[in-house]
């Protein structure tokens, strides 16, 4: 288990500032939600931590080791795995091959409880099906299982509930519980589903216009007027519309 520490992280695209002076620590085995309106920089934060995009400033430490700006494959090898907003499977091969590849490429052996996770997701009985022929919800679950199959210390989940039916979203809870219990993973979730965030996360970070607007327990943070105005209010407006 390793601590993920972010220090004064910044990201700019030319003159556009996505976020700046972003600092937080995700304790070993910890769980944290990141919320914010569209364009707040949540996915970019995952991209920067996972090495997909270089930061414009600041540092990322994993277990005390500076991993800032390392390429994606190196970050992955060090123990940070991620999922993507869309499905992150190898579409042309079977479920079995998808899992086998993740285990092989992760180089850490088959993680504890992986087979049980596949059973919980009802993927065991569909191991020989081509992954892009699965229903969308199952493709998302397969993507999550693959992220866990590489044997990470830290999991970054980018909108895992996006596109799922309301009834399917409980599987995200099961997944997070499973990887923490069996794999000892720390989990950072970027998500718009506030029910899911409230249920799962003992701590949430609110991003707004590139800054940390709030950081703390959900009950405290989500009651703050500035958070409601910046984010929750906007969601309500959209839903009303």
């Amino acid at each position: 288990m390793s601590e993920l520490r972010i220090e004064q992280l910044a990201k700019r695209f030319g003159g556009l500032r996505v976020f700046q002076d972003l600092s937080f620590t995700l304790q070993p085995g910890g769980l944290m939600g990141v919320i914010g309106p569209n364009g707040a920089g949540k996915t970019t934060l995952i991209n920067v931590i996972s090495g997909r995009q270089p930061p414009s400033g600041g540092k990322v430490f994993l277990g005390g080791r500076d991993v800032t700006g390392q390429p994606t494959h190196a970050i992955s090898r060090l123990g940070i795995a991620r999922s993507f907003q869309q499905t992150n499977t190898f579409r042309s091969v079977s479920v079995r091959e998808n899992i086998a590849r993740a285990v092989l490429f992760g180089r850490r052996g088959r993680p504890a409880g992986l087979d049980r996770l596949l059973q919980e997701f009802h993927l065991t009985e569909r191991l020989d099906e081509q992954s892009d022929k699965l229903p969308y919800g199952l493709q998302k679950m397969l993507g999550l299982a693959m992220a866990y199959a590489i044997g990470p210390k830290v999991l970054l989940l980018d909108e895992p509930a996006a596109g799922l039916e309301r009834g399917e979203r409980a599987q995200i809870d099961a997944f997070v519980h499973h990887v923490r219990t069996h794999g000892g993973c720390s989990v950072l979730i970027v998500e718009h589903d506030m029910d899911l965030i409230r249920r799962l996360c003992p701590r949430i970070l609110v991003l707004d216009a590139g800054n940390v607007l709030a950081d703390g327990a959900p009950a405290d943070v989500l009651a703050r007027p500035d958070v409601i105005k910046a984010y929750l209010g906007a969601v309500d407006d959209e839903e009303d519309a």
Binding site: R52, N88, T89, F90, R91, S92, V93, F105
Partner: protein, 288 residues
């Protein structure tokens, strides 16, 4: 009937040659997303390296073929690592780079060997005959070597961890990288594998056909046509299409004369693209 059988065997032989070229071409496109305009150049270079080994250094022809394959693989590896890799996401730049490399290879070959075809003969002559069917031994040897090479490539791609990694990058580069795959290590290897196959084909085939500075251009055109027919990026499609192209060329050549083969092929590909734009076994076309 014997004419029909001879055409079939010649067609399969041509198909095996085209398959080696097309598999390399589609391997580079499928994994790196690069259209390698230098592919014909590596074929030509394979021929010239083998010729130099035999005529200049006195090596035995089989050894010369191995040297040609390794030399073109090494050049491909270096080219990818030093020039393609830094621009890997810029499709136009990599296309222009590969075109530039083809021009460089052609010019260097022209400067060293001149414009005249080399006298480079296959070391085995004579015909094999069964009943009324006659086949040149050289064609049968080339067919056998090509089939062995295709089988080896299949083993590498589908029975090794390296192959699994290469296919994973071809399926989805972002997911593969997120799982720990290193494109900077694997892309040059894929490129070397493909250019080595082109060099091998050149070393095998140019002694039978011809060895001159322009021989790479029709090879590029045929490779292109074959992978489009099979489906861009599809290995199975490239192999299938290569044998179709070989058989169509052989039969049209035997029954209608040499020039109609290309016309039939282009019409065939055109019709296929109208009704099935992804080719025979292609899934979808990679975006630019």
């Amino acid at each position: 009937m014997h004419q029909f059988l001879e055409a079939a065997i010649i067609g399969v032989g041509l198909g095996a040659q085209y398959a080696l070229l097309a598999l390399g071409f589609t391997l580079i496109f499928g994994i790196l997303g690069v259209v390698n305009f230098a592919h014909g150049g590596f074929y030509m270079l394979g021929g010239y390296v083998a010729y130099t080994c035999v005529a200049g250094l006195g090596l035995a022809y089989p050894l010369a073929v191995v040297v040609a394959m390794l030399a073109t693989a090494a050049l491909g590896w270096l080219f990818e690592l030093l020039l393609i890799e830094p621009l890997i996401d810029d499709h136009l730049a990599t296309l222009m780079l590969s075109l530039g490399l083809y021009l460089i290879i052609s010019t260097v070959v022209l400067a060293i060997f001149g414009p005249i075809s080399m006298e480079f003969a296959f070391p085995v002559t004579g015909s094999f005959h069964a009943g009324s069917v006659y086949l040149p031994r050289e064609n049968l040897i080339v067919l056998a070597v090509c089939l062995v090479a295709i089988a080896c490539l299949w083993l590498v791609l589908f029975r090794t961890d390296l192959g699994r990694a290469l296919r994973a990058l071809a399926d989805d580069r972002a997911v593969g990288m997120a799982q720990g795959l290193r494109p900077r290590l694997l892309f040059p290897l894929a490129f070397a594998l493909a250019t080595g196959l082109a060099g091998l084909t050149g070393a095998l085939v140019t002694p039978i056909l011809s060895l001159a500075p322009g021989v790479g251009e029709p090879v590029l055109a045929t490779s292109f046509l074959t992978v489009i027919l099979g489906g861009l990026g599809s290995l199975g499609g490239a192999a299938l299409a290569a044998f179709i192209v070989g058989l169509v060329e052989a039969y049209t050549s035997v029954y209608f004369g040499g020039s109609i083969g290309a016309l039939v092929l282009f019409v065939m590909v055109l019709l296929l693209l109208v009704f099935r734009p992804t080719g025979l076994l292609g899934r979808d076309v990679r975006g630019a």
